[in-house]
């Protein structure tokens, strides 16, 4: 497992809940049967935006991405990412049951001013057993 994600407060964040592994069979009549393949949700997603951060902080974020070998290794999330949320909601998002986080795509960096950048990061929470 890789080191924890850097403890930097994001400018924006959004979250989508994972889904349970199911498959639906729909007959010609329209009747459906849904089969469950497991008892845990997977595929959680968090999008983070770090706006107008210094090159040093940008480097920190990119270094963490490299330390996971481009999304291969999974990691946990620090509480700094969830500032402003209640503890119960933070627990739901920060560490759902058996979920570890990985990069779903490389970080995107946009230069906004000399020495300042905006970085967008998308993380996926997958089952780690």
């Amino acid at each position: 497992m890789a080191a924890q994600f850097p403890g930097i407060k994001p400018s924006e964040r959004s979250f989508s809940v994972g889904q349970y592994p199911t498959k639906t069979y729909r007959a010609l009549s329209g009747a459906t049967v849904k089969r469950s393949f497991g008892n845990r949700a997977y595929g959680y997603e968090i999008q983070l935006a770090f706006n107008n951060i210094t090159d040093a902080v940008t480097t920190l974020l990119l270094t963490h991405y490299d330390s996971t070998y481009g999304g291969l290794d999974r990691f946990t999330l620090p509480s700094e990412l969830f500032v402003g949320m209640s503890s119960s909601l933070t627990a739901k998002i920060q560490s759902p049951t058996q979920i570890k986080w990985e990069y779903s795509k490389p970080p995107e960096v946009k230069s906004v001013h000399p020495g300042l950048s905006s970085v967008t990061i998308t993380l996926t929470g997958e089952l780690d057993y």
């Binding site: 009747a31 469950s36 393949f37 497991g38």
Partner: protein, 154 residues
């Protein structure tokens, strides 16, 4: 709408006698079936189970190429002549086993790919209908009996 929850319990006895038990529903947990503990492994099993013409049916169990699966194949002598008991269990909403169906197979080999590991099995010897075989084969009338259904009538 009807909802079904199906877990599969994989119990493999290698030709050397070692036993491996896995289930594929309770992620990261162990599940008990017939007083034995089955740990989680992300496998899937597919293939034909039976036919009326008595052909050897093949079953494929697919694992990701992870350490536990590689060790299983290596220690089970390449899955040759291992014995698989595969139980399909229907669960209720409380995830308790309600109904089960158990099939028996004999290992005929394994193969690797870059991301998966495939174990191949054939059905263990079994009658497929009341008319087959027309005689009961015993050690007394045919000698040593085969372990799997590769049987030739001449």
């Amino acid at each position: 709408m009807t909802n079904i929850r199906i877990a599969q319990y994989f119990r493999l006895t290698a030709s050397g006698g070692q036993t491996y038990r896995y289930q594929n529903y309770f992620v990261g947990q162990s599940s008990s079936y017939l007083s034995e503990s089955y740990t989680f492994a992300p496998f899937r099993a597919d293939g034909a189970l039976a036919s009326l013409n008595g052909d050897n049916e093949t079953l494929r169990v697919l694992f990701p190429n992870i350490e536990v699966a590689i060790r299983l194949v290596e220690e089970a002598n390449g899955n040759r002549l291992s014995e698989l008991t595969l139980t399909t269990a229907w669960l209720n909403a409380s995830e308790q086993i309600v109904t089960t169906l158990t099939d028996y197979y004999i290992g005929i080999g394994a193969s690797y790919s870059d991301s998966t590991l495939e174990l191949r099995f054939r059905s263990a010897i079994d009658s497929v209908g009341s008319q087959f075989p027309s005689r009961t084969l015993t050690r007394d009338n045919v000698g040593p009996l085969p372990l799997n259904s590769e049987l030739y009538l001449r």
